[in-house]
Symmetry: C2
Subunit: 343 residues, 2 copies
């Protein structure tokens, strides 16, 4: 149980600890004979570096921290997978935390990651404003990139998709399918995703001349339950919109489910769209039309920015980069592509 240290290896090999370190870390000149002896001794003792000690000395941990609002949201887990994949290529590891959509927990997680000397942090902030102080404070201490969502009033890099452009795709598609009125179901406007998506929705609806009943803009949270509740409320009002645009797939799954339960046909009576293209979106009944985010590209860019910030010595923080990638529309069965407008 007691760990093998470099000192024990050096003793067995009959050299100094410095030499052992030089052999094992591969830097510094070492004669072939000594190298062999050291490697063998290390092997025999089952030596393994103590990452903690190394990190203390180097002040580098080869570890990146990531904080997401909710690990049970499949969109974020797939984003995590993408990030992990990219990091693996760089020989870095991921330290993942779940903020449970609570800025207070989020702040603790960020602080704790910073205390653990991660080399950088990737965060998708839970809240559009309340996450600000903690994010900024963390960004002042080490490289930080915001992913997908972002929080205002901070000076950090960001990578995500152009939500407004995405909504344009969605609305154009719905309009083509004959929709002349639309409802919006999202989460409370406390994070950038919903804000941007709603803004894009509203603007394009106006441009296309689609009517939006203010009573049919419903904000709750990112969950199936909320989608169901919101849809029930819309159905209860008595006048159905031609389309229900949802801020994410979980909500959309709830909406289609509630429609089915209430005998409202999708896309016959109402078209429904999601956002994120999570795996389960195609399992809805009907399969969801949704917006696909290029997760791998997002992850790639985030890691790249982080590496750049590390190199720059994050003191010299220049203007921050905002990278908005272009999302694509995935058309499935919950909308009526190219149908003729209803009479």
């Amino acid at each position: 149980m007691q760990r093998v240290t470099i000192a024990q290896v050096s003793e067995r090999a009959g050299v100094s600890t410095a030499t052992v370190s030089r052999v094992l870390s591969g830097r510094g000149p070492v004669s072939a004979a000594v190298e062999r002896r050291v490697r063998q001794a290390a092997e025999e003792l089952g030596y393994q570096v103590n990452t903690i000690a190394r990190a203390l000395r180097n002040s580098r941990t080869d570890t990146v921290g990531m904080v997401v609002p909710s690990i049970s949201n499949p969109f974020f887990t797939s984003l995590v997978e993408s990030v992990e994949h990219v990091l693996e290529r760089e020989g870095k590891e991921l330290f993942l935390s779940d903020a449970r959509s609570d800025p207070a927990i989020e702040a603790r997680r960020l602080a704790s990651l910073a205390a653990r000397n991660v080399d950088g942090i990737i965060v998708s902030p839970s809240h559009g404003t309340e996450s600000g102080p903690a994010v900024q404070k963390t960004a002042d201490r080490l490289p930080l990139v915001q992913l997908d969502r972002f929080v205002g009033g901070t000076n950090t890099d960001w990578v995500g998709v152009d939500d407004v452009a995405a909504m344009r795709l969605v609305m154009d598609h719905l309009h083509e399918g004959g929709a002349r009125s639309a409802a919006f179901v999202g989460s409370l406007l406390t994070n950038s995703s919903t804000e941007q998506r709603f803004a894009g929705f509203r603007r394009r609806a106006e441009e296309l001349g689609m009517s939006v009943d203010p009573d049919q803009v419903l904000l709750g949270d990112y969950s199936v339950d909320w989608g169901e509740a919101a849809a029930a409320r819309i159905v209860d009002t008595g006048h159905l919109p031609d389309a229900i645009v949802c801020a994410d797939d979980l909500i959309a799954l709830g909406v289609t489910r509630a429609c089915r339960a209430h005998g409202v046909s999708v896309p016959g009576q109402v078209q429904v769209t999601g956002y994120d293209n999570i795996e389960f979106s195609r399992l809805g009944e009907p399969a969801l039309t949704t917006v696909d985010q290029p997760r791998d590209r997002i992850a790639e860019e985030a890691v790249r920015l982080l590496a750049a910030a590390s190199r720059a010595g994050s003191a010299g923080r220049g203007p921050s980069a905002h990278i908005a990638l272009v999302p694509t529309l995935v058309v499935r069965d919950s909308t009526r592509a190219g149908a003729t407008p209803r009479p």
Copy 2:
């Protein structure tokens, strides 16, 4: 950017580093006046402990590592949430890794967690045999608990559910609903979950006199896609079983979807069951009857075992604990509870 150390705080407060440490870690006697000065200095400088340095000195990190086969499987993410929740109460943090169902990646993750001096490891092994060496090697060095799945030939603690008992519940329920024949769709028998579940299925089928066509035992992987493919294959054989028992919910979701696509009514023509009770299981069409695992209890026990092992100084490894909790059956719409047997 340069971090504030205890030395700077001590200088500002006009005391020694020892005193600062005593104040901040709360151990050792310190006069009220000094304590106030130190706290203020720390506050003013924005001091934050360096967890790395502390860990090196204490050889404790207050961190637990967790390795799961797949972070995109909602069952594991909810298990992770439960574990994180329990750990939070203990003031510990979770370091999460995804093995992508690959024993080689899994081994690397385990080694890397060990090198990072986590206080203990919770792992759900990817493979029923190939995960063995790495798991055992890790368990020799630090406290380790296997969760849900386990790998044979190792001497470690384990917490999970009684899969055989669960299958008894499932089969009895199906039998009551009139099923006299059944198919099984699982993953390749390379992990304990499938093994145990299949064993339980087979045994109870025999006891109840239900027939099982060997051609209708289909093994692939834990995914919706595989569920769809397997169901399609079963439908194609021409003779439908009365029930299709699935080794997890993802598979079951795929199966019901394929049934719908092929015009096979569930539960009218075929009853279908899942396993895990993931959130999406109730979103299937029809909502899935499934087995609920008591995740919070599982997490609780795992953390308890880990703590016990740490205290015991894992050298004195006694006989390992195997804790099988009792799962419950969640009856929804994909089965026909209490219906009369078909003629």
